[in-house]
């Protein structure tokens, strides 16, 4: 593989992972943030039920995506980028991967600490990772909330950067992640 030249576009699999997980994250923000504002009750429970099922789906997809990523090379960054821009782009992507794991995991442990086991769409139940622990729950909940803001900020930066590449630099950074487009080399 090291001898192969890097692809110019993201593959269908890479695009599938990217857009599926992106869509699920939007769903997760909607469910998670609105559930957080609901009083304790059946409606909050129902919303968090979906939130947990989707969250565990993201965790499973993240495992597959990371494995896939380890064996597949992404397209290279455009030549015109400065060293700082490259490092920032790399750091953003690494942090995304970290959060893809840490968000569901903190949610899972937090549910365990609260003694509300996590179901996957009522098909099966994930084991509790820790026993009931009120203090651990409080800490994990704060962590999960804070990291959701970090993820939100990161996603905003990511979207703005993609738009900047597309409209300002007029390169194919956005297009190569879009299905049904062709990435012609734009200078």
């Amino acid at each position: 593989m090291p001898n192969q030249s890097p692809p110019t576009r993201y593959s269908a699999v890479a695009q599938g992972f990217h857009w599926l997980i992106a869509a699920l994250i939007v769903v997760q923000f909607t469910l998670g943030w609105t559930a957080g504002n609901l009083p304790i009750g059946a409606r909050k429970l129902a919303r968090l039920d979906w939130h947990k099922s989707f969250g565990m789906t993201i965790l499973m997809l993240a495992v597959l995506r990371l494995l896939w990523r380890l064996f597949h090379r992404p397209p290279e960054l455009p030549a015109g980028m400065t060293a700082i821009e490259r490092q920032l782009a790399r750091a953003t992507h690494v942090l995304f991967y970290v959060l893809l794991f840490v968000m569901p995991l903190t949610g899972w442990v937090m549910s365990s600490a609260k003694n509300f086991s996590v179901s996957w769409f009522h098909q099966f139940t994930w084991p509790n990772l820790i026993g009931p622990n009120e203090r651990a729950f409080d800490v994990l909940r704060t962590t999960h909330d804070t990291l959701s803001w970090l993820l939100f900020a990161l996603a905003s930066l990511h979207i703005l950067a993609a738009l900047k590449h597309h409209f300002w630099h007029k390169d194919d950074v956005l297009k190569r992640m879009l299905p049904f487009t062709k990435s012609e080399k734009r200078s």
């Binding site: 059946a42 129902a46 039920d49 179901s119």
Partner: protein
Amino acid sequence: MRNIYLAGTAAVLLGAAAAVAAVASYTSDAQQSRLEFVGLQAGAEFKGVFHKFTANVDFAPDALASSRIDVQIDMNSVDSMDKDRDATIRGKDVFDVAHNPTAHYLTKSITKTAAGFAAVGALTLRGVTKDIPIEFQFVPGAAGAAKLSGSAKLNRLDFGVGQGDWKSTDTVGDAVKINFSLVLKPKG
């Protein structure tokens, strides 16, 4: 002919008297006994226990007609290992402990089964009384003690446990499993 009937009746009465005499009376050891419920919430099982309950048991395997199990449960002692959930369960939409502080179970009949015993009893929960069957094992222990353990199933909505939003069974299932393990000591 009449004498035969009389003799027969007398024999039955004597038998019943003998059966009454054969029943041993027990009360549950509060520390060692356990009363647990298992429900389904958001697709996942959750367990809770009642810390305070008393069982008075008159029982002998060969005198089931005069055996009975009588359990009083302090609904306020519910513990599902989460204070928010416990507060909700005690609240007016679920157990409504302010108006229904105790639940009561009293057997009406007990029969022998292949695996142990089965009973039907009246359960009063949240002000509603309904017959609930149970299955149990009875194991005599040392010094007149015994262990009575078993299980039951009930539908919470039959007792109005779950009002308002909690009537929906999408998030909290209707079926609830009960497990009990009573450590019985002889009544002194």
